[in-house]
Amino acid sequence: MQDVVIETRKLTKIYKRDEFEVVALKEADFTLRRGDFVALMGPSGSGKSTLLHLAAAMDKPTSGSIRVLGEDIAALRDREIAAWRNRHVGFVFQSFNLIPVLTAHENVELPLKLMRMTRQQREEHSRTALELVGLGDRVGHFPRQLSGGQEQRVAIARAIVTDPDLILADEPTGNLDANSAQEVLTLLRRLNEEFGKTVVIVTHDPHAARFARGIRYIEKGELLPEGATPEDWTPATPFAVTTPGNPKSSAQA
């Protein structure tokens, strides 16, 4: 068992937009240990989602290294990445991203289709996951028949049904009212405490961040050192837009 779940060294992501280059993440050194629950905070466009996407191998770094669960994910090919992600990472989206034509059960069961499992096993796993998020009585409902909070809980069930080591959540409460947000965050906390899942959430809501065990701040593409807050941070270099004369271009959210 790997003790370090995510380890990045000088991880950099530069987006090219037409002739402009935007530095979304600059030389980030980030270490996440098994059992951690970390909130990545920062304003829009600070690069927090970029870090999350790189960790989920949804994007490739421009330079630097990233190892997740001991795997050099930047070196994997599409098919390998897909299989790796299916097995090791559960991803939760801000806007839930359930498949509208599939029921709650079918949505949760979807990742299991990629595994060697009988139909019965799939159904058991799916039911267990839905019961865990408190929606055991909603298995046959379509997403449009559920509330936002319920949809997000189905999405979490889908993220955990393969029993992944790492759960990544991108603004999981961004589209929810306060009560639903509370439920979702409590659920994530429980997954961390009771089931030992390693969790990273991206948020700009300080209330949401308080559910995590630790907070890391990202400002203008720079990951602040552990324990540092934006107040005691001064940028090492001016925020980088390498092509001069375009003050309006902003980094990728």
């Binding site: 897909a82 299916n86 991803f91 991203n97």
Partner: protein
């Protein structure tokens, strides 16, 4: 196939209006093709039912049809003694000298008259053809009497039993109706050979001879013998081959129909492609999500490709349903669709239906491949950002 098929099918159901419109376009295309094929199939089966496998049709060399063949009576006398000809009930060789010409009859849908084949035959000609007689009797030798095929009865109001027809040198009374199953004989009028020959001044120059060989081997030898006999100067082939060659009559319609169907198919493929491109664009976020869940590009491609195929299959089945009445109605009420002077049923056979379905699926393949490829090639992050 890892993404469940229900995903593809339900997405078709969700946008049912678009699905139905696209499917209808494909259905119309398939219907055009199937109508043409049903026509060809019907004609083919009518002609195929006409020929007896052991019959050899002899015409003058260089004539493509009985109508244009000048066949001399003395040549027929020489034919009779060729080896391999079967004997009839009276011990005589089963060989029929025949005269074929065209007469004009006013039809129900065409009062100006339609060409109908008139065939002068002797007793051997009647014996050789397996004909039922649902009404009346056969003509008597040396009389101006005629027997009409059952399709003639249906199409020509003035050609019923008891009616008289005017052609040749006088009036001919219709004394019976013959039924040749599905064969082309149903569209012909039979009269006594000698009476017809004298009426049309063709007592020594007639049209053709029909011979029955004793078996298949003898038939082939007979054909070879006749073809190579320089003295006779005749062309010989099996009756089946002769009627099959008459299929060229339907070639222009088949060509035109197929041409129209292909043009429509190109249009329908683009309609299908358009629908699928729209689906890919609208479901961009879903595609991104599926990728994040661990589905490969190949799974995405397969899912969208299958959706396109399912769409096309719906169109194909609708198209088959559209043409089915063509087959049913004509058999049920006995209304024949006439093609030149041969009547036959449009025939939507299972093989015609399968061809239609395959044709539809080809449209699905052409229309689905590019959109499915586009879906598979989307970058995950770009796909997730699109709304």
């Amino acid at each position: 196939m890892k993404i469940p098929l229900s995903y593809s099918i339900r997405n078709l159901a969700v946008r049912r209006t678009t699905t139905l419109m696209t499917a209808l376009g494909i259905a119309a295309t398939v219907a055009v093709l199937l109508a043409v094929m049903a026509l060809a199939e019907g004609l083919r089966s009518a002609f195929a039912a006409t020929g007896h496998p052991l019959h050899v049709l002899v015409t003058r060399k260089g004539s493509d049809s009985e109508l244009s063949s000048n066949f001399e009576r003395r040549v027929f006398q020489d034919l009779l003694y060729k080896p391999g000809i079967a004997s009839g009930s009276n011990g005589q060789p089963l060989a029929s000298l025949e005269m074929v010409t065209v007469i004009n009859l006013p039809a129900a849908d065409n009062p100006d008259g339609v060409n109908v084949t008139l065939r002068g035959v002797g007793p051997a000609g009647i014996e050789m053809r397996d004909l039922a007689m649902p009404q009346g009797r056969w003509f008597e030798s040396g009389k101006r009497e005629a027997v009409v095929g059952k399709s003639i009865l249906a199409r020509f109001p003035t050609a019923q039993v008891g009616d008289t027809l005017r052609f040749g040198k006088g009036e001919w009374q219709i004394v019976g109706v013959m039924d040749g199953g599905r064969s082309a004989v149903n569209s012909e009028v039979f009269v006594d050979l000698n009476q017809a020959a004298s009426d049309f001044d063709r007592s020594s120059v007639l049209s053709s001879a029909l011979l029955r060989a004793s078996d298949e081997l003898a038939r082939n030898a007979l054909i070879n013998d006749l073809e190579t006999d320089q003295r006779l100067n005749v062309a010989a082939r099996t009756e089946r081959d002769y009627y099959a060659s008459q299929m060229v009559a339907s070639a222009p319609i088949q060509f035109l129909g197929t041409f129209v169907a292909i043009i429509m198919a190109i249009g329908s493929s683009f309609a299908c492609m358009n629908t699928m491109y729209a689906a890919v664009a609208r479901r961009s976020k879903e595609i991104g999500t599926l990728r994040v869940l661990g589905f490969s590009q190949w799974s995405i491609l397969t899912a969208f490709f299958l959706e396109s195929l399912a769409l096309a299959a719906i169109g194909g089945l609708l198209g088959i349903v559209l043409v089915l009445p063509l087959s049913n109605v004509s058999t049920a009420i006995g209304s024949f669709v006439s093609f030149s002077e041969v009547s036959f049923n449009l025939s939507v056979t299972p093989s015609v239906m399968i061809t239609g379905l395959i044709f539809a699926l080809v449209m699905g393949v052409l229309g689905g491949l590019l959109p499915a490829r586009m879906a598979a090639r989307k970058e995950i992050l770009n796909a997730l950002r699109d709304i």
